[in-house]
Point group: C2
Chain length 440, copies 2
C-alpha cells in the first residue's frame, strides 16, 4: 500500500503517504469531523465552558512530571530539541497542559471551566483505530469539591451524545470503591495501581485474559486474582440501586460507596439517571484518578472502545503547582472513535449550488454568485469555461444539490435557471427565489 504512492518522476522519488500512524482528512472526512466538533463545541458552550488553546510543544520536564501520565505514556512521547538545545516533546494529552496553565496562573477565578479541542501525539503501536496523531475534545471543571461537578459533566456528556444522535450509555465507578474491593479480595496495597491497569482491560481481553495478566505480569497470587475478578461478577444483571446496596453490604461505610450514592443522587437532579450505569469493575488506565471514573460506550455498535472517558483527579493540579490541592473533574471525547462509530459524512462539498455561466456570461454569472452568497447560499462558480454538460456532471459528482444556469436567455428575462441535480427538474426564476429554494 505505501509503495503505491511512491511516484518516480524525473526529478524525485518521494514517499507521498502521510507520516506513519497519521492521516490526511480529505474534504469528505474533514467535513464530517467539523460537523462533530461543531456539535460538541455548541454543547460545551451551552454548559458555560469556554475554549482554551495550548501549544503542541511542551517542555519535556512538564510532560515527564511524575504526577502526570506515567511511564507507559511517557515512553510514547515524541521528543525533540529546539535550536537552543531545549528538550521538548509533543503533548500526549490535554490534561497535563491544562494543569500547567492552571498552575502558572494562580489568580484564575475558581471554578475554572474550559473545553479544549486539539490533537495529541503518541508514538505507540498502530492497530485498527489507534493512530499516532488523534484529536481529543476535553471538558474539565476545576476548583469544585462537590460531586455536583461530576454530575454536570455526566449531564453534558449525555447531551453531547444526544446531540450527535449516537445512542450511548455511561459506565460510572469510583476509584476509592474499587480500591476497597481489591483490598477486600486481598490485593496488596502496593499492587493496587498495577492491578487496576489490568482490570481496565476486562472488556478488551476478557476475564481469563485479565486473570492471566494479574498473575503473570502483576505478580498476584492466583487465589487473590480470582477473588478480585469474581467480586465483580456478583454485580452482573443488577440495576444501579441494587449494585449500590451490594457495594454497601460488601464494603460497609466506605467513602467510595458514599460518593457513588451521592453522585447518583445528583445525576437524578440533572435528570440523567437513565444514562448512567454503575460499573464496579470500571478502572480507567490512568493512575491520577482519585474518585469518580466514567466511560461512555456506544449502544448496538461495532465499536467497543470508549467514545469518551474521564474522572476526578483532585491531586494532579496541586502537584504541578507545588501548592494547595485543586479539585478537578473532566471528560475527554475521542473525535476519531466517535467518527468511527457513526458516519457523519454529508458529501465532498460544502457548496449548496454551482453557478454555470453559459458562454460570454461570466460577468453576469459572477454577479449572481455574489447575490446568492449575500442571501446565505454557499455558492461555487465554474472557473474553467467548461460546457454545460461537463459542469453539471462535475457538480453532481461533488454532491452539490443545485445548479444555477446563467445564459443569454435567462439574462434577457432577469432570471436564472435553477436545476435540481438529483431530480433533474428545472425552473426559470429570479435569483432571490432560487436562493429561497436552495436554502429550503
Amino acid at each position: 500500500m505505501r509503495g503505491a504512492n511512491r511516484i518516480s518522476g524525473k526529478e524525485l522519488e518521494m514517499d507521498l503517504t502521510p507520516v506513519r500512524g497519521c492521516r490526511d482528512f480529505t474534504p469528505k472526512d474533514a467535513i464530517a469531523r467539523a460537523r462533530v466538533t461543531d456539535v460538541l463545541r455548541s454543547v460545551f458552550q451551552k454548559y458555560g465552558y469556554p475554549p482554551l488553546e495550548t501549544p503542541a510543544l511542551e517542555n519535556f520536564e512538564t510532560l515527564s512530571n511524575k504526577f502526570a501520565g506515567g511511564e507507559e505514556i511517557l515512553r510514547e512521547t515524541y521528543c525533540l530539541k529546539d535550536q537552543g538545545g531545549r528538550d521538548l516533546g509533543l503533548r500526549y494529552d490535554l490534561t497535563v497542559p491544562l494543569c500547567r496553565v492552571i498552575a502558572s496562573n494562580p489568580r484564575l477565578a475558581m471554578p475554572f471551566k474550559r473545553y479544549q479541542i486539539q490533537p495529541v501525539w503518541r508514538d505507540g503501536p498502530i492497530k485498527t483505530g489507534r493512530y499516532r496523531e488523534f484529536t481529543q475534545c476535553d471538558v474539565d471543571v476545576l476548583g469544585v469539591e462537590s460531586l455536583k461537578a461530576d454530575a454536570e459533566i455526566i449531564c453534558l456528556a449525555q447531551d453531547a451524545f444526544e446531540a450527535l444522535e449516537l445512542p450511548a450509555k455511561m459506565k460510572v465507578n469510583n476509584r476509592k470503591a474499587l480500591n476497597a474491593l481489591l483490598e477486600k479480595a486481598g490485593v496488596p496495597k502496593e499492587k493496587e495501581v498495577q492491578a487496576i491497569l489490568s482490570i481496565d482491560k476486562l472488556r478488551k481481553i476478557g476475564f481469563d485474559g485479565v486473570l492471566r495478566e494479574l498473575i503473570e505480569e502483576r505478580g498476584l497470587e492466583e487465589e487473590t486474582a480470582r477473588a478480585a475478578l469474581n467480586s465483580f461478577k456478583e454485580f452482573e444483571g443488577k440495576n444501579n440501586e441494587e449494585k449500590i446496596a451490594l457495594l454497601e453490604k460488601k464494603l460497609g461505610n466506605c467513602e467510595g460507596v458514599k460518593e457513588l450514592k451521592e453522585l447518583l443522587a445528583f445525576s437524578n437532579s440533572f435528570g440523567v439517571q437513565d444514562f448512567v450505569e454503575i460499573a464496579p469493575e470500571l478502572a480507567r488506565g490512568l493512575n491520577y484518578y482519585t474518585g469518580t471514573v466514567f466511560e461512555v460506550y456506544a449502544l448496538d455498535n461495532e465499536i467497543k472502545s470508549s467514545l469518551a472517558a474521564g474522572g476526578r483527579y483532585d491531586d494532579l493540579v496541586g502537584a504541578f503547582a507545588g501548592r494547595e490541592r485543586v479539585p478537578a473533574v473532566g471528560i475527554s471525547f475521542g473525535l476519531d472513535v466517535i467518527t468511527a462509530a457513526k458516519d457523519f459524512s454529508v458529501g465532498e462539498s460544502v457548496a449548496q449550488c454551482f453557478v454555470v455561466p453559459v458562454k460570454d456570461c461570466f460577468d453576469e454569472a459572477a454577479g449572481i454568485a455574489d447575490a446568492l452568497r449575500a442571501e446565505g447560499v454557499c455558492t461555487s462558480i465554474d472557473l474553467l469555461d467548461r460546457g454545460l454538460g461537463k459542469n453539471l456532471e462535475y457538480a453532481a459528482k461533488q454532491g452539490i444539490p443545485f445548479a444555477v444556469i446563467v445564459g443569454k436567455k435567462e439574462l434577457k428575462e432577469g432570471k436564472v435557471t435553477l436545476r435540481n441535480l438529483k431530480s433533474g427538474e428545472e425552473k426559470l426564476l429570479e435569483a432571490k427565489d432560487a436562493a429561497k429554494i436552495i436554502l429550503g
Copy 2:
C-alpha cells in the same frame, strides 16, 4: 518574566511557562480566536471551499523537497525522529502538505478547492508578533489556469475582511512583471530570486535598507540596485489604470502586464476593484510563486505586517507529483496578526446566564438550567454552594450578562428571578420568558 512562574514547591521546581515562542490562549483570547476562525470558515464555505486536515508531522523528505519552502524556511524546521528511526519534521506551512495530498491522490476531481486552518511551526528568531507556533488559515484552488481563480480568491479575501469588520486593502502584483522590471533595470537573471527576497522587505526596512541589502548581501552593482528601486518609485501616487499604462509603456508586450490587466478585469466582474491596489514593487518572500502575488494590509492600523498573503504557484504541485503541471492559486490568512490588528474579545465567558440556587434549591435549579439550555441559552450553574452575593460577584467578574436566581420564594410561584448583572435590574418571571430576554 520567565522566572516569575518558577514555583518552588515541596515536590518540584519546574518551569511552567509555555515553550519558548509558543503561547497559551486562556478563555478570553481563545474565545476571540474562535470568533475569527468561525467567521473565516463561514466565508470560505460561502465560496464553496471545503475543509482539509493534514498531520502536524511530515516526513522530512517531503519538507525538504527542493521545490518547497527553500533553505531559509527549512533551517527553521523542527526536526525529530520517531521510535522507528524515521526522519520527521513539524510542518512549517500548509502549502507543502496540500501539494503532497494532491500529488498522492491523482484521481481527485479538478478544480480542487479546500480551506485548511491549522497551526504551523518555525524554530526561528522571536520578535514582536513572531511566534514559533502560529495558526494559518489557507484557501487554495487547484487545476484552474484562468485568472478567474485569482480573482475569486481576491473576492473571497475582500468578503472575509468585510465580515471581520477589519478595514483592509489588497496589493496585487505579478511575478512575471516584476522580473521584467528587474531585468530592465539590469539585474542579472541569476540574481533575480535573491533580489526579490530583499525587495519584499521594502515596507519593513525602507528604500535605503533594501538598497544596502541588494548591494551588500545580494551582490548587485550600486547602479543596478538604484535603477531597480527607482523604477518602482515612478508608480507612486498613480491609480490602477495609470500603473498598468506605465507598466505597458516600460515593458511593452509583457506577459506579466497582460495578466495584471486581465486580473483587474476579472476583479471588476467580481465587483472588488476598490479592494485591489496594483503594487509593482510587491514581491512576496517565497520563490515558488509564478504569476499573481498579493498581500492584504490593514487600513489605519498600527499593524504593518500583512494580514493575509498569497499568489499563484503553477509549478509546485506538479514538481511534487513528478507529473504534469497543476495550476494553483491560494491565500493564507494569519490568525495571529488578524487578532493583533483588532480586538475581537468579548469576555472570559461563553455563558449567557448564571443560575444561582438559593439554599436547598439545587435540584430545582438544575432543572431550570436544563430548561434554559433547551431554549438555547448557554447556562452555567453554581456548583460551590456559595452565597448569593459571592455568586453574583463571580458571574459579573466572568462577564456573564444575566443571573437567574432560584429560591423557595421563586419556586412557590413557578418562576425565577432574572437579574441583569450590568444594570442590577431584577424581574420575577417564568424561565421561558427569562430565556427570551437573555437571548435578546
